[in-house]
């Protein structure tokens, strides 16, 4: 119990400082209040045109499609992450040393930072955009189940962190990990479902995507929000897919710990 209380104290302290640090740049976050709705308007017209001669496309109706894009945008604000960028910067500049000697795991520190940073995102990105989507664009954004949605979004939050963190760790081998990061972000952009629902991809690719971790960042929480999950003609009940997502998060966290330990063997620093 004492252990958990101490951990929570760390989370609170780091999150609060990060929040304050980034609030100085809150207008940067507020760019989303313009960009998010503008992209949504474009999507609205694209899909209204596409659906003008049909009711269903790959098993989705127009209203579901619009909800999907609204939801992925909003979930993106909650789960957004740049642990990879941060970590590779620390490694390249040698500043990681100051974390290596602290009595907390750097990944835990990164998690706490992310919590603070995303609380800022909640106030300056998520809530304003939610209001615009619901009250101006009249998109139905009531989740099928609040319980499963909150769990799934929380898992996506962790998934994104652990995956990005592992990518950031490659900096211990590559020093300049920008290339790897950009390729990874690109793959994630396409295969997480942020671009278009994954059911639009060719069947063979959908089958492959079932086994890749990308879908757990965006597609899975969005479909849990909508209330039904299908990929590669496999329909999974919501509690099961959230369970699978939880397993994926644990596996990714363990994998990132493994890579972390390997990289610590490579690490050497001189008084940064």
């Amino acid at each position: 119990m004492d252990f958990i209380a101490r951990k929570l104290k760390v989370v609170k302290a780091v999150a609060l400082v990060t929040y304050k640090e980034w609030s100085a740049y809150r207008t940067h976050s507020m760019v989303s209040i313009f960009v998010g709705p503008v992209y949504f308007i474009v999507q609205y017209f694209i899909w209204s045109a596409v659906y003008s001669r049909r009711t269903y496309l790959n098993g989705m109706e127009l209203s579901e499609m619009l909800t999907y894009f609204g939801v992925t945008t909003l979930i993106g604000y909650i789960t957004m992450d740049f642990a990879d960028w941060n970590l590779q910067m620390l490694v390249r500049t040698g500043k990681f040393l100051t974390f290596a000697i602290r009595p907390i795991h750097h990944r835990f520190f990164a998690l706490s930072q992310k919590i603070g940073h995303r609380i800022l995102g909640l106030f300056f990105e998520f809530i304003p955009c939610l209001f615009i989507f619901v009250f101006i664009f009249k998109v139905d954004l009531r989740p099928a189940s609040y319980f499963w949605t909150i769990i799934s979004v929380a898992l996506a939050f962790l998934m994104n962190l652990y995956m990005n963190y592992t990518i950031g760790l490659t900096a211990f081998w590559l020093v300049q990990a920008t290339g790897v990061r950009r390729v990874y972000l690109l793959l994630q952009g396409i295969f997480s479902g942020g671009l278009i629902p994954l059911v639009f991809f060719p069947k063979a690719l959908q089958k492959l995507l079932l086994f890749l971790p990308f879908q757990y960042v965006s597609y899975v929480p969005a479909m849990v929000y909508i209330g039904r999950y299908t990929l590669a003609d496999v329909s999974v009940p919501i509690p099961h897919i959230v369970g699978l997502q939880a397993v994926a998060v644990i596996v990714t966290a363990l994998f990132s710990e493994l890579v972390y330990r390997l990289s610590m063997k490579r690490f050497s620093g001189v008084g940064a």
Partner: protein
């Protein structure tokens, strides 16, 4: 005077090419990533048509033609005016714009010339390939259509330049905001699709006020034989928009106050 500027510009291009040749791997990687990340949005179109759906009255290759033109324009803009935002932003943050201002050349010219960067060369080639493929599927093209295309395409490139300059000018006041391009990227998004899918009020804005329709849609429409009166009227706002960018940037330079860099 003009000859001096041309000489400086050519010299800057030479420097940029030799930089690329020195850091070859970085250059290739930049090019690869730029290509792949910009090929994404035609992917959405392919997936829509691949699912058996379509934009009403538009064939796949007609839509791809718009997107190929948009891609070529993006690549040209990235090469020739893409760097001006970042270099201006850095000078503002560091308070070092004086270093440019004391040079005996026009500040805006110098900033644009010295940031020519060929990281989007492959993207341009990719755009041309896509353009050729799409064009070969859309029927015969007359000489007149090609001439119309060239005029409209160049107008579209001017819009891209205007956008780059407006962003750079904004960075004088909105200091260090690396998300500035996102704002304009989201507006440019309207130029990537057939304009008749949008509400009339929106396509009026994208044609005459922030003329992003000129980047992809109007030039492609010319090649499809559908460039009407509107397309040519829309050339005027393009040049007004670009001039607006130049004037805004010059105004911001006048407002700039430094403390010795």
């Amino acid at each position: 005077m003009l000859r001096k500027y041309i000489r400086i510009y050519l010299e800057c291009i030479k420097i940029s090419v030799s930089t690329a040749m020195t850091y070859r791997l970085n250059f290739l990687l930049d090019n690869f990533i730029m290509l792949v990340s910009n090929i994404l949005f035609p992917l959405v179109t392919l997936l829509i048509y691949g699912s058996g759906a379509e934009f009403p009255n538009w064939s796949l290759y007609e839509v791809l033609l718009i997107q190929a033109v948009f891609t070529m324009s993006t690549a040209i803009a990235n090469i020739f005016f893409g760097g001006v935002l970042w270099v201006t932003m850095r000078h503002i943050i560091e308070g070092s714009l004086e270093i440019v201002l004391i040079k005996p050349v026009n500040c805006l010219f110098y900033l644009v010339a010295s940031t020519v960067e060929f990281g989007s060369l492959t993207l341009f080639i990719g755009g041309v390939v896509m353009f050729a493929v799409a064009l070969s599927h859309v029927g015969p093209v007359s000489i007149l259509m090609i001439l119309q295309f060239i005029v409209l395409f160049l107008s579209g490139v001017c819009v891209m330049m205007g956008i780059s300059l407006i962003m750079a000018a904004t960075s004088f006041k909105w200091v260090g905001n690396s998300r500035l391009p996102e704002i304009f990227d989201s507006i440019k998004y309207f130029g990537r699709y057939p304009q008749n899918i949008f509400h009339k009020a929106i396509s009026a804005v994208t044609s005459f006020i922030i003329p992003v329709a000129m980047i992809g849609y109007f030039p492609a429409a010319a090649l499809l034989g559908e460039a009407d009166f509107t397309a040519f009227i829309a050339i005027l706002p393009c040049f007004v928009f670009t001039m607006g960018g130049v004037l805004l940037f010059r105004h911001m330079i006048r407002l700039y106050e430094g403390a010795g860099g």
